[in-house]
């Protein structure tokens, strides 16, 4: 099987879906001749032409709003927001509108929209090229939110998202784009939306994460295996709808839970995971539910030292897991 990077997987998923279904098209800033600033749509203009690969004006509300309108007419737009940090001007279309359309028309309006958003830090992006934005969409009814960690999941989930008739926020961690490589089968496959995956089974502690941090969790689990602590690593993959069953099953087995994310801790996705477990797996818990997350400052600063201080990493995760295992 071919080994690919996350960005290659993303590109391949879109290209294959555009080949399969002429209703699929991409729009966003610089997606045309430039092929996107991360090259996700490299070569698309030549292959699919100007009418399906649309360089938009620099206007995020329009990038989403126009896509919604096109979806009403039966097309299947993929909108690219260039960096997560620039999604806010489109918040009305994403938070105010997109998730309310099907519900608010009593099912009359279908919204087969995918919004691809490179997000996350660790790339010296500072306060405006590093943001984690998942919690906002996670809280918004009617949206689906996906945050894959591997090339395989990225391809399979993006294809599933494109075929889904609902608005999907597809979050791609920028740092995984070229850093994370893995096997991706040729040809068509999808990964189901709404299913978490146990990426490494274990008996003693559960760690739940997604995106870039998932890889650090796997490294930490590997470290702890050498110390006799078997860590189960659960990759949420889809944040919304949350796969409560997989989460609960893991905690029921291990009795101990660490949640790791890069996003600010307060009101993050991890809070919901903790709340669900504290309600539904209460009787199984042997230790406090612990979170290792970004602190509550406005994303990671630009300076190397501060960025590092902000971010969870393998060592910090291993330490938290050790503490939890010893509780």
């Amino acid at each position: 099987m071919a080994v690919k990077s996350v960005i290659e997987a993303v590109r391949e998923a879109m290209r294959e879906e555009m080949q399969r279904d002429s209703r699929v098209f991409v729009m966003g800033e610089d997606v045309g001749r430039r092929g996107g600033v991360f090259l996700a749509t490299q070569g698309f203009l030549d292959e699919f032409g100007e009418s399906r690969v649309i360089d938009t004006p620099l206007a995020e509300a329009a990038i989403i709003g126009v896509a919604l309108g096109a979806a009403f007419r039966g097309l299947r737009p993929i909108s690219e927001i260039q960096f997560s940090d620039f999604v806010w001007p489109a918040a009305n279309q994403l938070i105010g509108e997109a998730g309310r359309l099907c519900y608010g028309s009593h099912g009359a309006l279908k919204v087969p929209l995918v919004v691809r958003i490179p997000y996350g830090g660790g790339i010296r992006g500072g306060l405006f090229h590093s943001q984690n934005i998942e919690a906002y969409f996670f809280h918004t009814p009617g949206l689906k939110v996906i945050a894959p960690s591997t090339p395989y999941d990225a391809k399979g989930l993006l294809k599933a998202a494109i075929r889904d008739d609902n608005p999907v926020i597809f979050l791609e961690h920028k740092k995984t784009y070229r850093l994370v490589r893995g096997e991706v089968p040729e040809g068509d496959f999808t990964v189901p939306i709404g299913k978490a995956e146990v990426k490494r089974p274990g008996r003693h502690v559960s760690v739940i994460s997604y995106g870039l941090m998932l890889h650090y969790c796997l490294e930490a689990a590997q470290l702890l295996a050498g110390e006799g602590i078997e860590v189960e690593v659960v990759d949420l993959r889809t944040l919304k709808p949350l796969d409560r069953a997989t989460v609960l099953e893991s905690v029921q087995k291990t009795g101990r839970l660490l949640i790791v994310h890069e996003d600010n801790i307060t009101g993050g996705v991890g809070a919901e995971v903790a709340a669900v477990v504290a309600d539904e797996a209460f009787g199984y818990l042997d230790a406090p539910i612990t979170r290792l997350c970004g602190p509550d400052v406005p994303t990671m600063p630009y300076a190397a030292t501060l960025e590092e201080a902000y971010l969870p990493n393998t060592a910090k995760i291993a330490a938290a897991l050790r503490k939890l295992a010893a509780y």
Partner: protein, 347 residues
């Protein structure tokens, strides 16, 4: 340093005669069309007034009246219907447009939030949601928001080879929203078949136009996006019909048009508003001289298209229908609470 060049190739007015109502019937319009428009106009006004009364009785939570806007709404609707291939994104105030294809009872269901509301089955404000059989979408109350949707719909139509022209309605206040700018700019760049219709009633709730913009005409903004803009007397139906007809033809051939229909808001902003504090009663009273629901039937009688008894019967019929609709809707059930979670997602 030079004064900014006038933008783009200057567009001339779309071809066609600019006639006042008294000039006679425009091409393509039959007396029957005008009788229908009159019937709608009178019916809409009856409905609108009844709903105010029902609001005061606690039976309808809210209405944003279209009183004063009827000629603009029905004139442009007539053009869209005559064209036969238009898709509409109306404004929340466009009762005349949104109810045109519905029975009075359906309209009443919607205002009371009853089972059978064709727009959202009682989930949204009255006549808000989608009525796809009648090619109408109005997704939300967030003003300005629908303009990008309309542009996207038009983009999709072009990609699919449709000849559809999209009409999107908004207010003078809504023109201040960033999304209005982004939408018009996008439509201009891609020369999309969209007619932007601003129903300028000089107020955004209480804020007068002078505190909303430093220009006399919203239509003048079209130049900022490289397409033509026109001002229309929105108190008369036929000029609104003609301007819209020409705009549709232009939009299909050459791209967007901005029409500004100068209308008057006869009522407070909604049933929740009290306009006495910010708008002298005399101002509105004077405007009623040009009430389209008075002037248009009178003109039809004067032209011999309808007789006064016919007009009277239209009104009497409208009243009967609204009476029946009120009774039927009042007796109808609310949507079942068990449906609360339905249609969160599309299957």
């Amino acid at each position: 340093m030079a004064q900014a060049r006038p933008t783009h190739p200057q567009h001339s007015a779309p071809a066609g005669e600019h006639r006042r109502q008294s000039d006679g019937l425009p091409k393509g319009i039959t007396p029957q069309d005008l009788v229908q428009a009159c019937t709608r106009m009178v019916g809409t006004r009856e409905m609108d007034q009844r709903i105010w009364a029902l609001n005061r009785q606690g039976k309808v939570p809210i209405i944003a009246s279209c009183q004063g806007h009827e000629a603009a709404q029905l004139g442009s609707l007539l053009a869209a219907e005559k064209d036969g291939d238009c898709f509409l994104f109306p404004y929340y105030r466009d009762l005349a447009i949104k109810s045109a294809g519905l029975t009075p009872t359906q309209v009443m269901y919607s205002f009371m939030g009853k089972e059978g509301d064709p727009y959202s089955n009682g989930r949204q404000f009255p006549l808000q949601g989608a009525d796809l059989p009648r090619r109408i979408i109005q997704t939300s109350n967030v003003v300005g928001s629908s303009l990008t949707h309309a542009v996207g719909y038009a983009l999709a139509c072009r990609m699919l080879g449709d000849k559809t022209v999209v009409l999107v309605y908004f207010g003078d206040g809504a023109s201040s929203q960033g999304e209005a700018h982004e939408a018009m700019n996008f439509a201009g760049v891609h020369r999309l078949p969209v007619v932007f219709i601003c129903e300028n009633n000089r107020y955004a709730i209480s804020v007068p136009q002078s505190r909303q913009m430093a220009v006399a005409d919203v239509a003048s903004r079209a130049a900022a996006y490289g397409f033509p803009g026109f001002v229309v007397d929105g108190m008369e139906l036929l000029p609104c019909y003609e301007a819209t007809r020409e705009a549709i033809i232009h939009a299909r051939k050459s791209g967007p048009v901005l029409l500004e229909m100068k209308v008057e808001r006869f009522m407070p902003h909604t049933t929740d508003d009290d306009d006495r504090g910010y708008r002298p009663k005399e101002e509105v009273d004077a405007l009623r001289q040009r009430d389209p629901v008075v002037t248009f039937p009178a003109w039809l009688v004067q032209q011999g298209i309808m007789s006064q008894p016919q007009v009277d019967e239209v009104l009497a019929q409208a009243q009967r229908e609204v009476d029946q609709a009120t009774e039927a809707a009042d007796a109808a059930p609310f949507p079942s609470a068990s449906g609360l979670l339905d249609h969160l997602y599309s299957p």
